[in-house]
């Protein structure tokens, strides 16, 4: 028996899980409908796929949510996991699910997939026969993704960096790399049986003034970490940043760089996709304004040429959105996409060159770390500040980079910290900022720049 299989048996022999039937699950994946695989839909390349967010505690509620989504012509269904399951606290998830079922009151902020189990959840997924995307935020997702794939969920979001730096203060980053290596390997193995399992990185990170160079570098590194374990379908992603031009430039450079780095490896047969998140920062509480913002995001996603868009709702500012609000966004986004025709191509060569140089310089610095494997190189680069994510709560993050918006709302690097931004690019970035201000008024500007969409 392989080492991986031994580890899988340990992980799946869990008191919170019914017995896991490896042979049966393999048969299920082998014979599963191709419609369930988002990688199959990407290959058909007919339109930008629309995927909302959403997860409710009970089976009944989740089923009802999916019915609403299907009525609204959804392309990809979401399954968002509750926070207890994300932190591997299955006992609390179990208790809160019972309370939610008995009292008709939501005690969980998502669907506790491990608690429901794959036999139950698979009935729902195969009934709707649409691709489902697993949305979580789990550093140790081993049990969760085994349960997901066994349920018929063939897209797994996340990664060791993007699911850790925005969400955790002190979960050990080196452990996260190893746990995600398991995830990649399991996805790769199942991908040999049918269409490929798609892995998607979480580009929005903290959604708070993250400069595009940092976003792109982390997307490329998570992509390479997945490909080197045998993943054959991968989505890089980013979220609306605040300037249409910067989003277009980011999309072009991200696509170009992803193709470049993937082709330079032994895994050049992998398919790479681009995903765009509607605005992930603080939303306006005025719901009509929120609708405008969502619509604007859809237009920019089209300009970017995204393969998939992940939507928000008009209730974003007030809490977990209802299924009605969620379905409304899906219908609105589909309508907007239908009427958006004849989009111009926008190119800004100078901005693209600057961003490409920044990305290349950071990637080179990561690759030249003396460690023996890629994940260790990346680990060291985060630890020593070559990669620095603004507003990450994690203790390993350097927090030395300071970013601010310029007059056109592009995110600019004012202080690079230890990130190896080349001199020429750094001068360009700083030339866009107003450096004459004192620090106190700069902090006020940052507060304003974070909440840019609320006014």
């Amino acid at each position: 028996m392989s080492l991986l299989q031994e580890e899988r048996e340990v992980i799946l022999n869990n008191e919170y899980l019914d017995s896991f039937d490896f042979a049966e699950v393999e048969e299920f994946v082998r014979n599963a409908s191709r419609e369930l695989f988002i990688s199959h839909h990407f290959k058909r390349n007919e339109k930008m796929l629309v995927q909302p967010r959403g997860g409710f505690p009970t089976y009944k509620q989740q089923y009802a949510l999916y019915e609403f989504f299907v009525d609204a012509q959804v392309d990809v269904l979401p399954l968002t996991i509750d926070s207890n399951t994300r932190l591997n606290d299955y006992a609390t998830a179990q208790k809160m699910l019972r309370l939610s079922e008995e009292n008709d009151k939501d005690m969980l902020n998502g669907y506790p997939l491990v608690t429901h189990g794959y036999r139950t959840t698979r009935r729902m997924i195969t009934h709707f026969n649409k691709p489902v995307s697993l949305r979580h935020g789990t550093p140790d997702a081993r049990l969760l993704i085994e349960t997901a794939i066994a349920s018929g969920i063939f897209e797994i979001e996340g990664g060791p960096i993007t699911y850790l730096l925005p969400y955790s203060k002190n979960f050990p980053l080196d452990k996260a790399f190893l746990y995600w290596k398991y995830v990649e390997r399991v996805c790769a193995r199942y991908s040999e049986l049918n269409e490929a399992i798609n892995r998607e990185s979480f580009g929005p990170l903290t959604a708070t003034l993250v400069p595009p160079s940092i976003t792109i570098v982390i997307q490329l590194l998570e992509m390479l970490l997945a490909l080197e374990e045998g993943v054959k379908s991968f989505s890089v992603s980013f979220a609306q940043q605040g300037s249409m031009l910067q989003d277009i430039v980011t999309g072009r450079v991200l696509r170009k760089m992803a193709a470049h780095y993937a082709s330079g490896t032994a895994y050049s047969d992998a398919a790479i996709h681009l995903v765009y998140h509607q605005w992930m920062g603080a939303f306006p509480s005025n719901q009509n304004f929120a609708d405008q913002l969502i619509n604007l995001s859809t237009i920019i996603a089209s300009m970017v040429g995204a393969d998939k868009i992940i939507t928000k709702t008009r209730e974003e500012a007030t809490g977990i959105p209802t299924k009605e609000a969620n379905a409304k966004t899906v219908a609105d986004t589909q309508y907007c996409l239908r009427i958006l025709n004849g989009l111009p191509e926008v190119v800004d060569e100078e901005e693209e060159e600057i961003l490409s140089l920044e990305v290349t310089a950071i990637m080179d610095a990561v690759f030249s770390d003396p460690a023996d494997t890629l994940w260790r190189k990346v680990f060291n680069s985060i630890k020593n500040g070559v990669i620095d994510v603004p507003f990450s709560p994690h203790i390993i993050n350097q927090n030395e980079m300071i970013t601010i918006r310029d007059a056109d709302k592009n995110i600019r690097i004012m202080e690079r910290g230890k990130v190896p931004i080349p001199e020429r690019c750094y001068r360009y970035e700083r030339a866009q900022c107003d450096l004459s201000k004192d620090r106190t008024s700069i902090v006020n500007d940052i507060i304003h720049d974070i909440g840019i969409m609320q006014w």
Binding site: K169, T206, N399, R439, T440, I442, V443, I446, I450
Partner: protein, 137 residues
Amino acid sequence: MKVVTGVVGNDIHVVANRLIDLSLQARGYEVFNLGVNTHLDEFFDAVVETGAEVLMISSLNGEAEGWGREVKLLKSKYQGLDDLIMMIGGNLVVGSGNPEDIVSRYKGYGFDLVCHQIDLNTGLDMLQQFIAERSGS
């Protein structure tokens, strides 16, 4: 002047914490930022370890109310903290409450300065004034 700061309890709201750090540095303080999700005893440990003169605790999710009454007891277990300036700010109750009641309640818990839903720079001005008045008297 040395300041220990952080977000107390199970509270991951990091944005304001980073901005407090930047603003304190801009005003010339030496900052020891413990970040989010910090336990009360970790704050006092850090004060002892760094010899800080100011402890600035922040809270956004309102849970501070839950452990506020433990502050005096915990502080009394440490030696040499009698002159420590204790400040707390952010959103200090779950739901809403009368601001005057909130301030006097937290002063009762042992805080010298209480900033409930007050603008960051206003709060830091209050700290500066407090330090000036104390050194003058």
